[in-house]
């Protein structure tokens, strides 16, 4: 396969961000991404999937573009962006808000790495902000993709496609970089609170993922523990909200100005 990136671009990303594998990761694997975004929908969903499928830490993202923060687990340092997995799928999760000015480089490097591992497909889970979220009886799920083949997967699973509109933040860049490489990627988005942790939206996005990937992750525990999750995720939500504003997340509310047919 031919890499379309320039030498300079590749060198730059290799220096600033790299994925370090702790265990051998097979080629052709599926990757689920849960990065901090509206309602922390992806992060909450990813954490639940990791716990339910009992996935083990297999890799992490090494970068100096994040704040000087580590996660302590049983007294030992852990990097904030980690990859958990088994032989079939990987789940990428961040435990801190990603600074808006490093998001491009971090996502680009992760996609470069996924490309080098010949990943089968990337599925990014996230929320779509709706102002009247607390009045909604039924949350809708939407999808977008990096190529026609993946759009067909969404249609086959009766997931409504966002035909026209803006996306901003991690899933926007995942689709962008995957489309550039014609790498299969799907973004699943659940209607969600912009700035309140939304475990209900996360449970629905997992159910959509179950259909798309033909897996079976039970969400009853996540629904049951919704209040605990909302309480525990306040700090991460607060920090994520600041970064989302800098990423111009409110673009997603905008109506595009031109219609180019």
């Amino acid at each position: 396969m031919v890499r379309l990136l320039s030498d300079r671009g590749e060198k730059l990303s290799a220096e600033l961000v790299r994925v370090v594998e702790r265990k051998g990761i097979p080629e052709g694997i599926k990757i689920i991404c849960g990065l901090p975004d509206v309602g922390l929908v992806g992060v909450i969903a990813a954490a639940h999937i990791i716990s339910k499928l009992n996935l083990k830490e297999v890799a992490y993202v090494e970068t100096e573009l994040l704040p000087p923060v580590i996660m302590l687990e049983n007294g030992l340092p852990k990097p904030p962006i980690r990859i958990f997995g088994n032989n079939d799928l990987l789940v990428l999760i961040s435990e801190i808000a990603i600074p808006s000015d490093s998001i491009h480089q971090i996502i680009k490097s992760i996609i470069d790495w996924a490309w080098s591992k010949r990943a089968e497909k990337i599925l990014t889970l996230s929320g779509l902000p709706v102002p009247n979220r607390h009045e909604l009886e039924k949350i809708r799920i939407f999808g977008a993709a990096s190529n026609d083949m993946m759009l067909k997967v969404l249609m086959d699973n009766e997931i409504e496609i966002i035909e026209r509109g803006f996306l901003a933040g991690p899933q926007a860049l995942i689709l962008k970089y995957c489309a550039e490489k014609n790498m299969p990627a799907i973004a699943l988005l659940a209607e969600a609170f912009y700035n309140y942790p939304d475990p209900e939206a996360s449970s629905l996005i997992i159910q959509a993922l179950n259909k798309v990937m033909n897996i079976n992750v039970d969400v009853s525990e996540l629904i049951e523990k919704g209040e605990e999750v909302r309480l525990a995720m306040r700090d991460m939500m607060r920090r994520t909200q600041t970064e989302l504003a800098k990423m111009r997340k409110s673009h997603e509310y905008d109506v595009p100005g031109f219609y180019i047919r």
Partner: protein, 164 residues
């Protein structure tokens, strides 16, 4: 006042003497104002965030809250997980500041949140929300649904200016 002083200072310095001062477009000046305001906002946000979202002395956790300004009303929302709906109190501290408090149905301590090296337990949620525009607090209404408190405050009306 700070923005004004520093922006004017830069205008003077950029041009050298007063006579030969290069006239800059109004757009440049506005852009500089906006940049300075953005930088200051970032600083305020960062300073505001460099404090814990809990207070052991008052046994309170700070909930997330939000303010929307509409044409005729201001809507304040707050996410109140584990709140006892009967105990929610909303009071106006000043004309432009309201306080939301609620007792939690159960006590929560740090260990419940997965943290073992801190001591303290929490019995309530408490936050203060600044209101960006004048409102009539006496006509405010509130409802609590699915763990989200929504307070609607009508905006104060100004004078109508007649045409002709």
């Amino acid at each position: 006042m700070t923005f004004q002083a520093s922006t004017l200072g830069r205008v003077g310095n950029g041009g050298g003497s007063r006579v030969s001062a290069r006239r800059r477009s109004i757009f440049d000046i506005v852009r500089e104002y906006v940049e300075e305001i953005e930088a200051l906002t970032d600083e305020i946000v960062e300073r505001f965030m460099e404090k814990p979202s809990w207070d052991v002395d008052s046994q309170s956790l700070e909930p997330l809250c939000d303010v929307y300004v509409r044409r005729d009303m201001v809507i304040v929302t707050a996410d109140l997980p584990k709140a006892d709906p009967e105990s929610i109190r909303i009071s106006s501290i000043r004309d432009d500041l309201i306080e939301i408090t609620a007792n939690m149905k159960v006590k929560v301590n740090f260990e419940d949140l997965g943290v073992k090296h801190r001591r303290g337990e929490f019995t309530c949620l408490c936050c203060r929300v600044p209101l960006p525009v004048p409102v009539d607090v006496s006509k405010a209404k509130a409802k609590f649904r699915k763990g989200i408190l929504e307070i609607t405050l009508p905006r104060k009306k100004g004078y109508e200016i007649k045409i002709g």
